[in-house]
Symmetry: C2
Subunit: 121 residues, 2 copies
DNA sequence: CTTGCCTCTGACGTCGATGTGAGGTTCTAG
DNA sequence: CTAGAACCTCACATCGACGTCAGAGGCAAG
C-alpha cells in the first residue's frame, strides 16, 4: 500500500505516518524510487499507536514497548516499564472519574437549580 | 495568603498561579504595592482547576465553566458545554480502558510467555 | 540599614505531535 | 506523451501550559 492509502484507512494524516517512521514506530519498505510501501498490518499498527498516544504514552515510550507487542519478547526493564504505564493509566482513570463527577454535579445543579442558583433559559 | 503560600499548599508553581490569573481562572486581591493576596478558598480552587486540566479541559473551557461552579448560574450554552465535556471524558475513559487492556495483555504475555515468545531475565 | 527572601512584570524558551509550504520527483490515467 | 495527483525531503510554524531569566521593587529580622 502507498502512504496515502494507509493514512486514509487508519484515519490519520500522511504527515503523521512519516513522523511515526522517523520515531521508529512504523517501519516502511521503500520502492527503488524511494516511495514508502506498507503491508496491510500497517493500518492495525497505526491504530495501536494512536491508542497508545491516547493513553498518554509518548513516542519514545511507545517505541520501547512496541517490540513487546510484536514479538512478545520482554526484558525486566521492559516489564517494569509496561507496569509503570499501566499504573499511570490507572491514576489517570481515577482522575478522570473524579473530574467527571465534578462536572456531573455541576450539571445536576444547572438542570435543577436549588435556592440561590439561577437557570437562564 | 501570599502567592508562594498558595503555591506550596496547592502543590503547583508560582508561575502557574500567575498564569491562572491571566486566564481569568483565579482572581487575586492586590496589596497597595501590587502583590497578590489570596484567601483560603484559593487553594481549593487551584485543586479544582488542576482536576479539570487533568480531565483534558483547556484554560478557555475552564474559564467558561468555572462561573457555573461558583454561582450555580447556567445558560443553555453553558449546559451544552458541560454536557459536551462530560461526553468527551466518557470517550476518553473508554479509550483509556481499551489501552489499559492492551497493555495488560502484553504484560500477561511478558510474564507468562507462550510458544515463540522470549522472556529475558 | 542591610541582608536575604519573596514578589513583580515582561519576554523568550520548551516540548511533542502535527500543520504547512517550498521545490522537486514519480506514478497513473487518458 | 502529458497533465495532474501523489509522493519525496527539508525545514519552519503552531499551540498550550508552563519554565526560566533579567531587572527591579517589597518586606521582616537582626
Amino acid at each position: 500500500m502507498r502512504i496515502g492509502d494507509v493514512a486514509a484507512q487508519a484515519g490519520v494524516s500522511v504527515r503523521s505516518l512519516r513522523y511515526y517512521e522517523e520515531q521508529s514506530l512504523l517501519p516502511a519498505q521503500r520502492t527503488p524510487s524511494g516511495q514508502r510501501r506498507y503491508d496491510g498490518s500497517a493500518v492495525q499498527r497505526v491504530r495501536l499507536i494512536q491508542q497508545l498516544y491516547a493513553a498518554g504514552l509518548s513516542s519514545r515510550v511507545i517505541a520501547e514497548v512496541l517490540p513487546c507487542f510484536d514479538t512478545g519478547t520482554s526484558t525486566p526493564e521492559l516489564r517494569r516499564r509496561l507496569a509503570a504505564e499501566r499504573d499511570r493509566i490507572d491514576r489517570q482513570l481515577a482522575e478522570l472519574v473524579a473530574a467527571r463527577g465534578q462536572l456531573e454535579a455541576v450539571i445536576a445543579t444547572a438542570e435543577h437549580p436549588p435556592e440561590g442558583c439561577t437557570r437562564v433559559d
